[in-house]
Symmetry: C2
DNA sequence: ACCCTAATTTAGTATAGGCTAAATTTATGA
DNA sequence: TCATAAATTTAGCCTATACTAAATTAGGGT
């Protein structure tokens, strides 16, 4: 089974901490946030426009425009100037993987007793750090 | 009860996501990583030197030096040039809060069935996104 | 067809966080 | 003590992610 989610290599070297990976994956976290949202918008409204993204992300349209250019450069989206963006296969797979992690994280937090709204908010940041092993463990735990 | 952990204001506005806060707190995540490590080093070896930090954090000594200057500017540490750094009260409280979240997150993942080494690695990134409400819920869940 | 508005991009700026190379300061060993 | 090694800072560079202001393009209504 291929792992489409570009979580950093989990190689716990050092003392009780593994900071390196957590920090280096920041660009990928941004990519994941964007493709998740683009995928959602495509489902709900048929297309993803920059104007929608900047409202939902809470950043300026300029930031969205520049970030979309980086995502296009990195192969997550295709974007013709002044047009809606569309996910590539790579982008769609990242979106799927991110959303699965998000859903599982929310479910875990709810199981633990966290109210849904707070679970949604907290899971947003946490989902990016769920490794494949943890993903499987959470699945198994929730299936109990 | 004061909340020393500068987790962003949890105000879930919008659709099923709250991206804004997750991204803006990045600087604080870095601060938390550093003060946690400085606090650990102080306990274990009596002081925290830049050379130790850069080994453990996996970044260059230059990056450590510059980051420590930012942390000093922001009041998390006091640092005389060419000397070890020490946490301020603010820094110590952030370190304590971070380590508590880290420990709880590891415990939760272990309870879910994640091996310790992987739990440690994943918790490193996740701990920064645990809100006060979720913290309490995890505590209660683990106490069951 | 044409104007006007909305959306997007470009230009220019800032900060965080990363790097290498070079300079500086502290620490150590003969 | 004094040369050398180790640690730290400075200088200079890069990318990602933010912003405002200005220019450009797309789309709608008359």
């Amino acid at each position: 089974m291929l792992n489409y989610f570009p979580v950093s290599t989990n190689s716990p070297i050092g003392p009780s901490h593994t900071f390196t990976q957590a920090r280096q994956d920041h660009a990928i976290e941004t990519a994941a946030d964007y493709v998740e949202l683009i995928d959602e918008l495509r489902e709900k409204t048929g297309e993803a426009r920059g104007a929608d993204l900047c409202k939902l992300l809470g950043v300026s349209h300029v930031t969205v425009s520049k970030t979309l250019q980086r995502l296009a450069r990195d192969g997550y989206v295709v974007a013709k100037p002044y047009r809606s963006v569309f996910l590539t296969e790579k982008g769609r797979m990242l979106a799927e993987a991110s959303r699965e992690r998000h859903r599982l994280m929310v479910s875990l937090l709810e199981r633990v007793g966290v109210p849904t709204a707070i679970a949604e908010a907290d899971a947003e940041g946490m989902e990016h750090h769920v490794s494949g092993e943890t993903l499987q463990a959470i699945k198994a735990f929730l299936a109990q």
